[in-house]
């Protein structure tokens, strides 16, 4: 069943809102921020793509946000921007489902909770941090904020979270369980993640992300929230339609790419996943936009947003520039189109894949 995309909300390193994404796609450049961490007496400087949630107070009073963590604030901001973009901020949401995909969940709050008992003893464990560290806390904040009393779902499955969660959103709409779905993909940066990535990827993390250098580790950590407002296929679909969602494992049953589709790949500088793209693409034209928002499991949601915006603008945006030079695969990019289909492909390190197809 096709799903119409009514609105997009973006909160990420390239800025907030659809215009920020469009601008990043047009310029092909987003500079990561440098972060400096002191650890073991040494300064660790590295690039990140971080999100600003200041704008959230335009939608929700600051007082109401007091106990809400950064992860849930990104979530709420993405949701607000998507509803605003769809002109549904004031609509009745009693039949709006909430579906959230996250690779890791609320990392910072999880560690804040551990801090509470490691620093002060188990009797001082923080109930606020605990209840906000539960993976579906962000979805709950969205449901409470928007009085969305229909079903709510959170899916956590690393790189496959987006495709997997989207499959359920599609079935909810197909079965008439909901009239609309507020679909979000969120992940956050935290210092412990930096430590882990540094240990895992000793030869990377300094950027720039080179998505098509498949045998090179060039990922740069990012964070953000992206939301799509989805409904059953209807005449009005300002950002086109999601036609199909497919999940599988390339190692068990090789993925078959639609022949003529424009292809957006979730290659984001992770060598372990890069090998699957290398096997599959073999010179086929593709674009990858990770250099605009960074590397994180649910960045596949941002690829979806790029695909939807490309359909709306009838423009194939070029591959972001890397070190001032476009990638080879970008030669044909940047052109206008009239009737294209776009496939978004994301691989996980175990050969799991999600393939999402969109069209006008």
């Amino acid at each position: 069943m096709r799903m119409a995309i009514l609105g997009i909300g973006i909160c990420c390193g390239c800025g907030n809102g659809v215009e920020a994404l469009r601008s990043a796609l047009q310029t092909g450049r987003v500079a990561p921020q440098e972060v400096c961490l002191e650890r073991n007496g040494e300064a660790d400087r590295f690039p990140t793509y971080r999100s600003s949630v200041e704008e959230l107070s335009e939608f929700i009073p600051k007082r109401a946000l007091r106990r809400i963590d950064h992860f849930s604030r990104m979530t709420l901001l993405g949701a607000c921007l998507a509803l605003k973009d769809a002109d549904l901020l004031e609509a009745d949401r009693s039949r709006t489902g909430v579906v959230i995909a996250t690779g890791y969940g609320t990392l910072k709050t999880t560690f804040d909770f551990l801090d509470s008992y490691l620093d002060f003893g188990y009797a001082c464990s923080s109930p606020t941090h605990f209840s906000n560290s539960v993976h579906n806390a962000a979805a709950a904040h969205v449901s409470m904020q928007f009085k969305a009393t229909a079903p709510s779902l959170t899916v956590t499955q690393f790189e496959m979270s987006v495709a997997s969660a989207l499959l359920t959103a599609q079935l909810w709409l197909a079965e008439g369980r909901v009239d609309r779905v507020l679909f979000g993909a969120i992940d956050e940066y935290c210092e412990v993640l930096r430590y882990c990535r540094q240990q895992f990827f000793t030869d990377g993390e300094q950027g720039p992300i080179q998505p098509f250098s498949f045998d090179q580790q060039s990922a740069v950590v990012g964070e953000g929230a992206v939301f799509l407002v989805l409904t059953k296929a209807q005449e009005y679909a300002p950002y086109g339609y999601i036609d199909s969602v497919r999940l599988g494992n390339h190692l068990v049953n090789a993925v078959e790419l639609p022949q003529d589709d424009m292809l957006i790949v979730g290659a984001d500088g992770h060598k372990e996943c890069g090998r699957y793209y290398a096997q599959l693409l073999k010179g086929r034209e593709a674009t990858a936009y990770a250099p605009l928002f960074g590397s994180f499991p649910t960045a596949a949601g941002f690829d979806l947003a790029v695909a939807a915006l490309s359909l709306a603008d009838r423009t194939r945006y070029p591959n972001p520039a890397v070190n001032g030079c476009a990638n080879d695969a970008a030669e044909a990019a940047g052109r206008q189109f009239s009737d294209e289909k776009i496939s978004c492909l994301k691989f996980g390190p175990g050969g799991d894949y999600g393939l999402i197809r969109l069209s006008l």
């Binding site: 650890r39 073991n40 890791y104 969940g105 990392l107 999880t110 560690f111 909770f113 551990l114 801090d115 509470s116 008992y117 490691l118 003893g121 188990y122 009797a123 464990s125 109930p127 605990f130 209840s131 539960v134 993976h135 579906n136 806390a137 979805a139 709950a140 904040h141 449901s143 409470m144 009393t149 229909a150 079903p151 709510s152 779902l153 959170t154 899916v155 956590t156 499955q157 690393f158 496959m160 997997s164 969660a165 499959l167 359920t168 079935l171 909810w172 079965e175 369980r177 412990v192 882990c196 240990q199 895992f200 999940l247 599988g248 494992n249 068990v252 049953n253 996980g348 175990g350 799991d352």
Partner: protein, 395 residues
């Protein structure tokens, strides 16, 4: 009443037993064994009883705990039991479209407190724990371990995760996304959840007493419950253990941890499940309630049951298993089907004194089941409510 999705295999393990047969024996002997946690310790001044597995897990060597998290091991153990019950050997699943949908809480959380303790003290901890976490996403791991090709999804809807996972898997079958689904929930006992629930002051220092006047909270537990769902084309006449007739879910949109005082979301989930199943409340033989033993949950649930399903017998099995969080809904769905087949319900262990605030009270003794359709419900953090309506199988 419609036919629903066929359930051909069941598997479960928890503090009540290492498999379904052992669990049912504990339930009908009204036995339970809550005790202080043996697998971890804390400096908490109060010791809260928990329900841990009685024995060690017997799994293939490549599933040992140094490689994969305990939650995934529990999920695999229950999956293998359910597949065996459904007469599937793993090799014969290959080449078929098999989906995996598993609910969890701990199984997806980066609750690596030993690693984090070392990290905080400016050490350079190794990443073995993190690597294990990355390898152990329950649905992905089961799919990978059994070399399955199909959709897989790990649902993290807190304590309704297992129920939701089963409902979602049934939708996959109806939509033709896969032909067979392994669906359920799994969760291990962890120091983090032990500390978290005690911080919320909703754990009992004694064996829990669901729906009782003197209830003080829950006992945590661990385990997994798995169901094998099959399309009619694949089942091809094979006997079903039961049928999933309907699933409903709704969000209270009220509070992060407390249920809506009128049970608004639970009532909506019930309405949706009844409509999907095409059954009426009068057709329900019994309810396997969420019944955690917390004052708020049991009050709301009792009121909703009294209003929507007046006079229908109900029981909480959490007295036998503890609250197994993301596994709870799945374990309880397995128990619901097993009780329908057996034609008998266990007593609500821990209940002795009715609470005047609770208009409906659970079964005090093992009782006969009158009817072929039953309901299992889950309430969760985040205001999630989920309901399954299940029917007795073919014998």
């Amino acid at each position: 009443m419609k036919q629903g999705v066929a359930i051909t295999g069941l598997g479960c393990l928890s503090g009540a037993g290492m498999n379904l047969a052992e669990s049912m024996q504990s339930l009908f002997r009204n036995q339970r064994n809550p005790q202080p946690p043996q697998r971890f310790s804390t400096d908490h001044p109060v010791s809260y009883p928990v329900l841990e597995l009685r024995d060690g897990l017997e799994l293939p060597l490549d599933m040992c705990e140094t490689i994969h998290a305990r939650t995934s091991q529990l999920a695999l153990a229950a999956t293998l039991e359910a597949l065996d019950d459904a007469c599937w050997d793993v090799a014969s699943l290959r080449g078929k479209r098999v989906g995996v949908c598993i609910g969890t809480t701990v199984g997806c959380a980066l609750n690596c407190d030993d690693f984090y303790r070392a990290y905080k003290t400016d050490g350079d901890p190794g990443l073995a724990t993190i690597e294990r976490y990355l390898r152990s996403n329950p649905a992905a791991l089961i799919a990978r371990q059994l070399q399955l090709d199909g959709p897989n999804q790990t649902v993290v809807n807190a304590c309704s995760s297992g129920t939701d996972a089963i409902g979602i898997a049934a939708a996959w079958l109806r939509a033709g996304v896969c032909d067979i689904a392994i669906a359920g929930g799994a969760d291990e006992l962890a120091r983090v959840t032990y500390a978290g629930f005690s911080s919320l002051m909703i754990t009992d220092t004694e064996p829990c007493k669901p729906f009782d006047l003197h209830r003080k909270g829950l006992n945590l537990g661990e385990g997994a419950g798995m169901l094998i769902l099959e399309s009619e084309a694949v089942r091809d006449g094979k006997k079903a253990r039961g049928y999933l007739l309907g699933y409903g879910s709704a969000c209270d949109a009220y509070h992060l941890t407390a249920p809506h005082p009128d049970g608004a979301g639970l009532k909506q989930a019930l309405r949706e499940a009844f409509a999907a199943a095409q059954v009426t409340p009068e057709q329900i033989a019994f309810v396997n309630a969420h019944g955690t033993g917390t004052p708020d949950n049991d009050r709301v649930e009792s009121r909703v049951l009294h209003e929507v399903l007046p006079g229908v017998p109900f029981v909480s099995t959490k007295g036998y298993t503890g609250h197994t969080l993301g596994a709870a809904g799945a374990i309880e769905a397995v128990f619901t089907l097993a009780c329908l087949q057996r034609g008998e319900l266990p007593a609500n262990i821990g209940f002795s004194t009715p609470d005047p605030e609770l208009p409906a009270t659970p079964l005090r003794e093992n009782s006969r089941v009158e009817g072929d359709v039953a309901l299992s419900e889950s309430l969760a953090f985040g205001g999630n409510n989920a309901v399954l309506i299940l029917a007795k199988g073919d014998g």
